[in-house]
Symmetry: C2
Subunit: 518 residues, 2 copies
């Protein structure tokens, strides 16, 4: 394995799974060349005139798609931790005797823990996609044959669009679909709202299978996935556990520290002048973010300010804002609860988006950079504002990137983090894994105050009189170190990368390494 | 100019505008090879982070797009005969001193007559696209430098998708748009409903300019055209004459003969057993088609039958069917009146479609073949059920193909035609120009009765007891000849093709020829 130092000063592998990669060249510096991927031309002569593409089983569909050893199968993660389809896909592949597949999910979850057995029996060679939980642990322990590749949601679209990742067979779990393959996520037992994470797959894969447990007569409207891109449709009894697809509960943090952070963030956004008529914001799905949204809403009401749009991941709090007229639109990338699903189904101002519209860095612009403020989390942030969201301080790969990297394009990127968790510092001297370059991160808000990136003199000026304590990142770091001490560096084998971390433009920003002695 | 005889027995040019073409090989016989067109990869680094792509003028936008001699500019025709933008585009190109452009409209209309001056002064080299009216006459007289290429709506999508036609600059008239380039046709002075004819252009053109007279703050929802595909936005005072964009009047024929034809068609569809619960149909925009829709609606009500979907071109009669619960959906390709626009704006069951969903023969199926019955017109039909929609009996090219060829994929294609018009026979021995191969046409309905294609024994059996007079095409033809006599063949220079007629798969089905002595 050869390594090279990239523009962020990180030592990264030159090759990933046999493919030569471009090291990170700096934010906005890499210039793509060439043309987009070019799927084969099809003809209606090969598809049933009556539009009925239903076949008897997933196995039959995979066989008709010509599934072979070494191919790439993609899936989406809108069913989140309730997905029961993916396991069946690889069971079917196993039954067909197919080996060494690359699994290219938009993300994996704890519910996919059983797929370790398909990695072990050789059906799956390796996973390229965010690995949340057990599969990340498996990779961290050096047990996966190939290297993982972590991409943001936008980076995944970019990789497929640009032809870096060729999908042989896309399998799209569809809460509602018709026999032609038109599909949406708004209704059915597995209703998850939208299917945007599968858009690239449907557009660029050689073959596309739609699997549904709610087959309706043509036309399935709205066609979030277009049947014109679909080869086969499979009708199954169930796609998964509805109670885990959308949790139905959205828990606001009860931690006084987290509530304080949330309050600071809302106040910062108002004091900085960002919260003004027609502004926009995005917040994550965690408990702190939820609390922030509620605090911000109170401030908006008090000030008589209406947002033009808010970005989801949607939940009942955003839906309330829409329904109370506090925002014109929700532009939503995934629905986190049943209120989000209902609102998207009923309200034309609750609009489904995709990684193409929102995040693809290799398009003619994307929504992400048009958001005035975004509030995100992190597992680690260092004194240069660099941030990590994929590994823990022990070096274990336990989280995906999601839309996090893409959101850094916002006008004001705020990381809302505690200074430490369980006595383990979040504020560190150097992040274990670099996922967000410091120059893209504008503000850190902790329970001990906020630190503004010195590059943002405008924000420093604007918040001169804010009641949020504005401090330097160094002082926050020193205070944290005084409490927690200096942690042991993680025990990692730095010659054995287990996953590459891509930047939004497809270059290699960093790598995660094998945990030693695990 | 070299010619070759194709599978329909037509003598067609081997080359069109210097490009070697494939002669028609039979319905469903041509197999495409290779991959789709591959637009260049772009990067957000080259687009404004705030999403504001507005530039000062159309001329500036064209200059920034790098418009050069010999390039291809595309436009759509949703503004129909009210379009005032296209003329301004070529005025701007003329101001820039650019020559020999290929104009690639989805259709042209009488309102574009002034563009003859841009053909004459060398700004436009030739037109590839349906030429309705004066431009067709100009071409027919042999005055255009290049050869016209007539494609169906689906064929146009196919040609762009397959890379047969490379669009350098697409200019998209948008009744409503935001500074990012998201656009729709539902609101604004130029509201035309949808923008589906511009979809291929937005996806595949090197550069895309959106021009609007109704600029709204981001996000413009729904984004029928996606800003992520757009390079520049231009704000103008007016796109055109609203009264000519959607006529606001939809005239049902008063001709007793035409009304009889319409009644026969409705009765035929009921008697043949096509009009059953959950069926679907499509009818054109002409007066006979409108009358047919009204008669069919009466029969549906009487029989208690509901359609699953009807295809538009929408008008107030289809909208009434939707609002009265006689169909679950309108799947609409263009709106012909203000009721259509309103319904599409307000009713989620009035769904906008595109040539990709509906008509593209080089996709994984298309809606067209899933329609149970379609009612269309023709300028000529011959004794082999071959039909013509582009030339008159004098050989003049005066109409475009529109969706007509694509609709022939329907389960039952019915041509509703008078036997003759102004003593000129519509039923002829051999069509002047072949646009629809006889094997794709199932029924001819005239004021003298219906003729069923002998290939459709099922329809012959089903309508055995119909009160519609079922006759042979030969007897209808002979009766017409007895009335009108045998017309003079058109005076055409058969060595000088002025336009190629493409089949839905991109092969050359026929050509239109120079009118002699005009």
């Amino acid at each position: 394995m050869k390594f090279v130092e990239n523009a962020a000063g990180r030592r990264v592998p030159e090759e990933v799974n046999g493919r030569r990669e471009t090291p990170f060249q700096g934010v906005g510096k890499f210039r793509p060349e060439g043309t987009k991927a070019k799927p084969p031309i099809r003809t209606c002569a090969d598809y049933p005139a009556d539009g009925n593409k239903v076949v008897g089983s997933l196995e039959e569909a995979l066989r008709k798609c010509g599934l072979e050893d070494g191919m790439t199968i993609s899936t989406h993660h809108h069913l989140r931790n309730g997905d029961e389809l993916t396991e069946k896909i690889f069971d079917a592949a196993h039954s067909l005797g197919v080996k060494d597949l690359r699994w290219f999910p938009s993300a994996s979850f704890p519910c996919h823990a059983n797929l370790v057995s398909r990695l072990e029996d050789g059906t799956i060679h390796h996973i390229e996609g965010s690995m949340n939980g057990p599969l990340g642990g498996y990779a961290s322990e050096g047990k996966m044959r190939g290297m993982g590749v972590l991409r943001s949601h936008g980076g995944r679209y970019q990789a497929v669009q640009d032809g870096e990742v060729h999908i042989d067979v896309a399998v799209i779990a569809a809460p509602t679909a018709d026999p032609f393959g038109d599909a949406h996520g708004l209704e059915g037992d597995a209703a998850c709202g939208l299917l945007g994470f599968a858009l690239a797959d449907s557009e660029y894969a050689d073959r596309v299978i739609v699997v549904t447990d709610n087959l309706v007569p043509f036309p399935c409207v709205p066609w979030q996935i277009q049947g014109n891109n679909v080869d086969y449709v499979v009708h199954v009894d169930s796609l998964g556990d509805a109670s885990k697809i959308v949790s139905g509960t959205t828990q606001i943090t009860r931690s006084p520290d987290r509530l304080l952070i949330a309050r600071y963030v809302a106040q910062f956004i108002e004091d900085a002048g960002i919260m003004k008529e027609g502004f926009s914001f995005q917040a994550g799905a965690g408990g702190t973010s939820l609390a922030f949204a509620i605090y911000l809403k109170e401030r908006m009401k008090a000030a008589g300010v209406k947002a033009r749009f808010v970005r989801g991941g949607s939940n009942k709090y955003l839906v309330e804002m829409l329904e109370e007229g506090l925002t014109d639109y929700i532009l939503d990338g995934q629905t986190f609860d049943l209120d989000g699903v209902r609102s998207m189904r009923e309200n034309p101002r609750h609009v489904n988006t995709s990684p193409f519209t929102s995040y693809n860095y290799h398009g003619k612009g994307a929504f992400a950079s048009m958001v005035d403020a975004v509030v995100l989390g992190a597992t680690e942030v260092d004194v240069n504002f660099n941030a990590n969201v994929v590994t823990h301080s022990d070096g274990y790969l336990l989280h995906g990137i999601g839309g996090w990297q893409n959101c850094l394009a916002s006008g004001c990127t705020i990381l809302a983090i505690p200074s430490f968790r369980d006595r383990i510092p979040v504020l560190v001297e150097d992040v274990t894994t670099l996922v967000g370059p410091g120059e893209t991160i504008d503000v850190i808000v902790t329970e001990r105050g906020a630190a503004i990136n010195p590059r943002r003199q405008d924000l420093l000026d604007a918040t001169n009189n804010s009641s949020v304590p504005i401090r330097t990142i160094e002082s926050l770091f020193e205070e944290t170190r005084a409490i927690c001490g200096t942690p042991e560096p993680p025990a990692l084998d730095r010659d054995t990368p287990i996953a590459a971390i891509k930047w939004v433009d497809g270059t290699i920003l960093d790598a995660a390494y094998k945990a030693v002695g695990a």
